[in-house]
C-alpha cells in the first residue's frame, strides 16, 4: 500500500511538471524586460513592458479580433448543423444513407488536418471557377472550413446526449397537444442544451486555435491569431508573444474555473434534492 501511494504521488508530480512547466516558464518570461527571450534581465524585471507593447501592436490586435469573429460565427453555425445531424442520426432510425452520413460527419475527426485543408482549398478554387463564389480565399473561406470540422465535434457531443434521452418525454409532450416543432423547442432543446453549450465551447476553441487547415484556406489580409504567432515565431520568439499567450491562458483558465464551480454547484443541489425526495418517501 505504501509503495503504491508513493508511486501515485510520483506519477502525479511528474505529470503536472510535464504539463505545466512549459506554460509556467512562458508566463514567467512574459514579465521579462529583456528583448531577448532566453535572457532574464534581473535588474528591470518583472515588468509589463511587453503587455504595453501588445496594446499598440495593430497586427496582433487585428488578428485577434478576426480570430474571435471567425470563432464566434463558425461555432454558432457548427452548433446548428451539428445538432441537426445529431438529431438525424439518433432519431430517424435506419434511413437510406444513414451510414454514409454517420461516416461523413465523423470523418473530419480522424482525417489528417493537412488533407482536410488541402481538399477544402481545392473545393473553394473549383467553386470559384464554376459558380464564382467564394471569391478568393479569406475570412469567408476560413469560416466555412472551420464550420466543416467543428460540426463533426458538435455532432458527436449532441449525439451522445440524445442517445440517453427518454423519448417518452417527447411523446408525452405530443400527447398533451404539442406539435412536433413545439415539442422540439419546449422539451428536446432545453434538455440537450448542456450538450449544445459544451459543443459550442469546443467548437469555439477548435476554431480559435486552428492553424493547419486555416493556413490552406487563408488569403492575404486574413491572418488569424495563430497564423500571426506562428509567423512571428519563425523569426525567433519575441517577448510580446509570451505576453499574448499568457493573456490567452488566463482567459481560458478563468472560463474553466467558472464552469467547474457552476457544474459542482448544480451537482450538489441535485444531490440534496434527491435526498430530500428520498426522505419524503419514508
Amino acid at each position: 500500500m505504501r509503495s503504491q501511494g508513493w508511486f501515485a504521488r510520483g506519477a502525479l508530480v511528474l505529470g503536472l511538471v510535464f504539463l505545466y512547466v512549459p506554460i509556467i516558464s512562458m508566463i514567467v518570461f512574459s514579465f521579462n524586460y529583456s528583448r531577448l527571450v532566453t535572457v532574464w534581465d534581473s535588474a528591470r524585471s518583472p515588468s509589463f513592458r511587453w503587455y504595453a507593447a501588445l496594446v499598440h501592436n495593430q497586427q496582433i490586435l487585428g488578428a485577434a479580433w478576426l480570430s474571435i469573429r471567425i470563432a464566434l460565427v463558425s461555432a454558432t453555425a457548427a452548433v446548428v448543423l451539428g445538432t441537426l445531424a445529431g438529431m438525424a442520426l439518433t432519431r430517424f432510425g435506419r434511413f437510406r444513407g444513414r451510414m454514409l452520413l454517420a461516416g461523413m460527419t465523423t470523418a473530419p475527426l480522424v482525417m489528417p488536418e493537412v488533407i482536410t485543408g488541402l481538399s477544402l482549398l481545392l473545393l473553394f478554387v473549383a467553386m470559384a471557377q464554376l459558380v464564382g463564389w467564394p471569391r478568393g480565399v479569406g475570412a469567408v473561406t476560413i469560416t466555412l472550413a472551420h464550420i466543416t470540422f467543428c460540426m463533426a465535434y458538435v455532432t458527436v457531443v449532441v449525439q451522445s446526449r440524445l442517445a440517453g434521452f427518454d423519448e417518452a418525454l417527447e411523446e408525452a409532450a405530443m400527447d398533451l397537444g404539442a406539435r412536433p416543432l413545439r415539442v422540439f423547442l419546449r422539451i428536446t432543446l432545453p434538455l440537450i442544451l448542456p450538450a449544445i453549450a459544451s459543443g459550442w465551447l469546443l467548437a469555439f476553441t477548435l476554431s480559435w486555435d486552428d492553424l493547419v487547415i486555416t493556413q490552406f484556406v487563408a488569403g492575404p489580409g486574413s491572418s488569424t491569431l495563430p497564423m500571426v504567432i506562428f509567423s512571428k515565431v519563425r523569426f525567433g520568439v519575441t517577448p510580446d508573444v509570451n505576453a499574448l499567450a499568457t493573456i490567452m491562458v488566463l482567459v481560458v483558465a478563468t472560463g474553466i474555473a467558472i464552469s467547474t464551480v457552476w457544474m459542482r454547484h448544480r451537482q450538489r443541489r441535485l444531490e440534496r434534492d434527491m435526498q430530500l425526495a428520498a426522505a419524503a418517501n419514508l
Binding site: 427518454d166 417518452a168 418525454l169 411523446e171 408525452a172 409532450a173 405530443m174 400527447d175 398533451l176 397537444g177 404539442a178 406539435r179 413545439r182 419546449r186 422539451i187 432545453p190 434538455l191 441535485l270 434534492d273 434527491m274 430530500l276 425526495a277 428520498a278 419524503a280 418517501n281
Partner: protein, 382 residues
C-alpha cells in the same frame, strides 16, 4: 356479461351502441413480428378496462396505437365514432400516463401540469385555476413549485396523473400505472385511482402485467397473449370461468389435469383423470362429446383438506383423493400446502388460517384427503 372471444371478434356484426372506443381488426406488424394480431374490442364510456398480459403480448403496442404513437398495419381505431387513423397524437381526445411518468425534468410540477393547457392557448388565469384544481384532486396542492427530481415516486405518479387529467380527456390511457410504487403505496393508490375515475367520469384503459392490479382496478379485463385478446370479461368471469388453459394458468394459480369425458349428464360431466386417480364430477354444462380430451382446472382455495375421508355421500371415488403433505408455506393470513397425491402428482391447496392455534395443525408427511365440490372444477377444451 359473459363475453367470449368469438363475439368480440366480430363487432361489426353486432355493434355495441354504447361502445366509446372500438378496435376493428387491428393488426400491427414490426417487420416480420406481429405484435398485435387482428384485435377487435369494444370499450364502453366511463368504464375501466384493463389489458392484462405478459411481456411481449402486445398490450403496450395496443395502447400506443390508441394514443397515436403507432399506426395500425391494418384495421382501424375509432374513438367516439371517429376514425383515428389519420389523426396525429396531438389532436386526439386522449391522454396517456406513461410508465416512466415522463415528467419534464426541467419544469416545475405546476409547469408540467400546465403544459397541456398552454397548447390549447388558454389564458393565464384559467390555466392557473385548472392546474390548482387538479393538483388538489391528486393531493399535490402544496408541491407546485417543486421540480420532479425533488419528489418521491408516489408523488411523481400523482403529478403524472394530474398532468394527464388536466385537459379533461374523455379517455385516459395508463401504462402500468402502479408498477413503480412499493406494495403498501400501490394498494392505497389503486383505490384513489378508482375514486378519481368515478369523480371525473373518465374512461380508463389500463395496461398491466400484474393480475392483482388488473383485478382490483378493472371493471372488465382483456387477457392478451401473442398479440391476440384471448378472453374478455369481468374479473370474476375470468377467474371463475377461464376460457382456456392459458387464461386459467395466467390468472392466479391452478391445478390442472388432463382427462377424458366418460359420462355426460344434464348439468354435469364425469371425467376420468389418469393423473388424478379419481373421477371428477363437474357440475357444468360443457359442449363436448363422450371421449373428448379435456383439461380440468381446480383453484387451490377450492380444495378441502382433511385427515379423514370425506363423508360417504361423496362416494369416495369421486372428487376426492388421498395424498401426503410434502410442503407447508405459512403466509400469515393463509397457508399453502403442497400435497403429493397417490398418483405422484403434486397439488397446491390453500387454506385460510381462521382459528388461532386451536386445532392441531397439519404436519409435513401427514396423510390427508383432498376433496372439492362439484361446482369447483372448470372443464377446458382448449
Amino acid at each position: 356479461m359473459t363475453a367470449n372471444p368469438m363475439s368480440a371478434a366480430t363487432p361489426s356484426a353486432s355493434p355495441d351502441p354504447a361502445a366509446y372506443v372500438r378496435l376493428a381488426r387491428v393488426t400491427k406488424k414490426f417487420g416480420d413480428f406481429t405484435a398485435v394480431d387482428e384485435v377487435s374490442l369494444d370499450i364502453r364510456r366511463g368504464e375501466i378496462f384493463c389489458l392484462l398480459g405478459g411481456s411481449g403480448s402486445g398490450k403496450t403496442t395496443l395502447l400506443r396505437m390508441l394514443a397515436g404513437f403507432e399506426r395500425p398495419s391494418a384495421g382501424s381505431v375509432y374513438i367516439d365514432g371517429v376514425d383515428m387513423s389519420a389523426i396525429p397524437p396531438y389532436e386526439r381526445p386522449v391522454n396517456m400516463m406513461f410508465q416512466s411518468y415522463a415528467l419534464f425534468p426541467h419544469m416545475s410540477v405546476e409547469k408540467n401540469v400546465a403544459f397541456g393547457l398552454e397548447q390549447e392557448g388558454l389564458g393565464r388565469d384559467a390555466i392557473r385555476r385548472q392546474v390548482g384544481e387538479i393538483l388538489d384532486i391528486v393531493k399535490m396542492g402544496g408541491y407546485g413549485a417543486r421540480k420532479p427530481h425533488q419528489l418521491s415516486g408516489g408523488q411523481r405518479q400523482r403529478v403524472a396523473l394530474a398532468r394527464a387529467l388536466v385537459k379533461r380527456p374523455k379517455l385516459l390511457l395508463l401504462d402500468e400505472p402502479l408498477a413503480a410504487l412499493d406494495k403498501k403505496l400501490r394498494e392505497h393508490t389503486q383505490f384513489e385511482l378508482l375514486n378519481i375515475q368515478q369523480r371525473l367520469g373518465v374512461t380508463f384503459i389500463v395496461v398491466t402485467h400484474d393480475q392483482e392490479e388488473a383485478m382490483t382496478l378493472g371493471q372488465r379485463l382483456g387477457v392478451m397473449n401473442h398479440g391476440k385478446i384471448v378472453q374478455v370479461g369481468t374479473p370474476s368471469d375470468i377467474y371463475e370461468s377461464p376460457a382456456s388453459r392459458f387464461v386459467a394458468d395466467f390468472i392466479g394459480s391452478v391445478n390442472m389435469f388432463e382427462g377424458r369425458v366418460s359420462e355426460e349428464g344434464t348439468g354435469f360431466v364425469r371425467i376420468e383423470c389418469g393423473e388424478l386417480g379419481c373421477a371428477v364430477r363437474a357440475e357444468r354444462a360443457v359442449a363436448c362429446g363422450h371421449g373428448t380430451t379435456v383439461w380440468t382446472a381446480i383453484r387451490p382455495e377450492k380444495i378441502n383438506i382433511s385427515r379423514r375421508p370425506p363423508a360417504a355421500g361423496a362416494a369416495g371415488a369421486e372428487n376426492a383423493v388421498r395424498g401426503t403433505v410434502r410442503e407447508i408455506a405459512y403466509m400469515g393470513d393463509m397457508s399453502i400446502y403442497l400435497v403429493q397425491i397417490d398418483s405422484g402428482k403434486m397439488l397446491r391447496v390453500t387454506l385460510p388460517n381462521i382459528t388461532r392455534g386451536g386445532e392441531r395443525p397439519l404436519a409435513r408427511e401427514e396423510g390427508v384427503w383432498l376433496s372439492w365440490h362439484g361446482s369447483s372444477p372448470v372443464v377446458l377444451t382448449e
